[in-house]
Symmetry: C2
Subunit: 469 residues, 2 copies
């Protein structure tokens, strides 16, 4: 569906694209590496640069927000619609970047953007400055094409400065400012699409609960000749726990683990199956030799929509050269559980703890700690805001928009939980963009599609939000 | 059965006991710590001291034997019987000792023997100088009581200097000198008895085969969010291997593992059950909280007479503080298998290797190495030489002699294999003697019983050996 409005949007974007890219390049020159304490000043400069830019874009409110514990600053901006019935949308992104140095193998200086063959190369080009920045021109195109002086929705932006360092102060930040961040829907612009040819919307991320289990057997390492075969070995029991995590069908065997799991709908399974996916190609990305997982599910279903139990680390006993005939005193496990919508972190923890206790034989003492967790999030395909994103992308890309999910876990769930709002994902990055790697880049035509999607989205959301209420 | 001959032996021993203990103390003053390169000279001095002592005891041949690779010397001595039909006996012991220092917590200088309450405290008092040395006075008592000028058997002694360092050159040494060491029976005096009240003869030791298994999954650590649940995890597979080692009855589940196992006879089980054994007391020695092992067997049966599979070490993935959401590229296992009589090391290795291959899923590559092995050894209860040891001990201790086995593994099997002779164990040490620990001691009355047993043994062996042929 191409409308007169769409033509106007495109013309506006084409006209302003060179200046927009110059501005983005300026921002990318600021090496806002949050992991490097020596660049804390650059992260602050990046926040101030963005706040200035948002003010010049028209946002009446654009503030640098400090985080707790001397953390790195975020940027908050707000532009009320003026329409009493307008929904409120919070856009999330981050302005900090991964470390990068020419010596890592970059073809060009990672903090001196270079445009070649329609691509801008720089650290942060795709993750995430480019994807935050497309909203600025998108918003101006929206205003220009509609003749409005304020957005069709109450627009808020929250652009974090510690995402690449694990967002240590993010949950506290949004709890502190929950009133000002209040929104009907959250749009995360920090993800990507299936490919340039197959534009997609991500509808959810898995959650994560991790734990460490420490098993204690003999009070010190004992001789495996004198005692072997007659007392429990904590390394054996750690291994037996891991083996018991999955049944013969590689389903997680912890009683209660799947309680509440939102199962894939037939529609979702069909849509996933339509994606141009090939296990062999995927294995090369996964650097693995074979697929293996829960019986009855495809690889995409396994990584996007099924909860998992993985061993991240295991250790116990003698690990040096040669042999040592001991029964070790201790063994240790680091496990993590990817969670999907409907699973409750606390209930999963309780199920894991009870299961561990039930599995271990007499004579093995254990301790279990659950250091952290991230909740899963999922937006149903028929959610009105998701439909708006799909329509806006469809207009920009002029083709069918498909759906993906994200197997990893992110701060999206904090926003969902604290703000009580559904979370959507709008990103135009593609897998070849080199996130966290050398020669990170953004495809300029896709960046322009992101601008265009953003330009269509607010009007569509405002139009359909109340209808759906 | 106390005979006139027994009285003569006892009188001889009582008369020579003070000088015998003075001599032993002299030997114990030599800190022959084989693990300490700085004390290599002391180990050599210990060997020369012993060779001198054996010559003065009457051995026509007493030599210091060099070992390969610049190893520490052993002592060989030989005294032919002169009787054409006499059997040949090789007594094995070692003259090196474990490290010891006053600062480790000893009440007295470990290399300055102190006699208190009928015990001599010094490093090596029980392990193994005291138990080698009782043969010298025993032999003299044998000669004195029988009026012989040479032993009733062709007597050979081999006293190693590297036992506490793992006997690295022992197998090569005995292969090199196999002709001179040739014997009809080997008597190891480097073990102990159940207790001072319950004298016992050890009838066998378990063998040992160890292996390291390296599992390889992704070519590098990969993200457990992006890929978790869809590719094999080598840490999981390592754990599943370990868990599959045993069935629900804690029997080793590797096909073929039990092939050839010499099962306990009803007589042996009854005799083991008569020993004053208490699981709770044993657990305090094992520093463990509960017993656990193969169903259908007692603790003593499990550690003495049943083969085992133990994990000595397991490692893979992230083992530092906090969490790391990875699927590790590698995981590793160190396993050891205790073997019993009838099991063949090579067949066990083949069974393990085949089983590992069969267990692992597609996508996990593995390597397996078997660095070393020690064969099991076992002497049947009705073996004539064992009967001689039991009779000799019975005369010395004047009570019923019971049977034990040793759960550990030792160079006994090398002697058995290279010399093709049955191996017996004659030791008078008790569990409280503090082997490898502080305040090692030997009970002087038990030491005298060792002397007396040795005095009776050669005549009994000579008398019954040919009858049994």
């Amino acid at each position: 569906m191409t409308t007169t409005s769409d033509s106007a949007v495109r013309e506006f974007i084409a006209e302003h694209r060179p200046a927009f890219l110059d501005d983005l390049a300026d921002w990318l020159r600021i090496p806002s590496v949050s992991a490097d304490p020596g660049r804390a000043g650059e992260v602050r400069r990046s926040a101030e640069w963005l706040a200035d830019k948002l003010r010049s874009t028209g946002f009446p409110v654009a503030e640098v927000w400090e985080t707790e514990n001397g953390g790195l600053p975020a940027v908050f901006a707000e532009w009320p619609s003026g329409d009493a019935s307008a929904p409120t949308v919070l856009v999330y992104g981050h302005h900090d970047v991964q470390p990068a140095a020419r010596e890592d193998g970059w073809d060009t200086d990672p903090f001196e953007p270079v445009v070649t063959d329609g691509r801008m190369f720089a650290r942060g080009a795709a993750d995430d400055k480019g994807q935050v920045f497309f909203h600025t021109l998108g918003l101006r195109a929206h205003l220009a094409a509609t003749g409005r002086t304020a957005p069709a929705v109450n627009l808020k932006l929250l652009v974090e400065g510690e995402e690449e360092s694990g967002s240590p102060n993010f949950a506290a930040l949004i709890r502190k400012h929950a009133d000002r961040l209040a929104a009907d829907v959250v749009i995360i612009s920090d993800t990507g699409m299936w490919s340039a040819d197959t534009p997609t919307v991500c509808t959810g991320m898995r959650g994560l609960a991790d734990c460490q289990i420490d098993l204690f057997g003999p009070s010190q390492d004992i001789h495996s000749g004198s005692f072997g075969g007659a007392v429990p070995n904590p390394a054996t029991e750690a291994a037996r726990l891991v083996a018991a995590l999955h049944d013969a069908d590689r389903r997680v065997a912890i009683p209660g683990f799947y309680d509440g799991v939102v199962e894939l709908t037939e529609q979702e399974r069909e849509l996933f199956a339509e994606l141009p996916f090939d296990d062999t190609e995927w294995l090369s990305v996964a650097k693995s030799r074979a697929t293996l997982g829960e019986q009855g599910f495809s690889t995409l279903e396994r990584i996007w929509a099924r909860p998992t139990a993985e061993v991240n680390g295991i250790w116990g006993g003698y690990t040096g050269p040669g042999g040592k005939t001991i029964i070790p005193a201790e063994a240790h496990l680091k496990l993590s559980f990817r969670l999907v919508a409907g699973q409750d972190v606390e209930k999963v923890r309780q199920a894991v703890a009870a299961w561990v206790t039930a599995q271990l034989p007499a004579g093995i003492r254990h301790e279990i700690v659950f250091p952290g967790a991230t909740r899963p999030c999922l937006t149903p395909l028929d959610h009105p805001a998701l439909q708006s994103v799909v329509r806006a992308m469809g207009r920009a890309f002029e083709q069918k928009i498909r759906f993906t999910r994200e197997g990893g876990s992110g701060p999206a769930a904090d926003l969902q939980d604290v703000l009580g709002a559904p979370v959507l994902f709008l990103g135009i990055s593609v897998p070849s963009d080199g996130w966290h790697s050398v020669n990170e880049k953004v495809e300029l035509d896709l960046l322009a599609k992101g601008v265009e999607t953003s330009a269509y989205l607010w009007g569509d959301l405002a139009e359909h939000w109340n209808a759906a209420d």
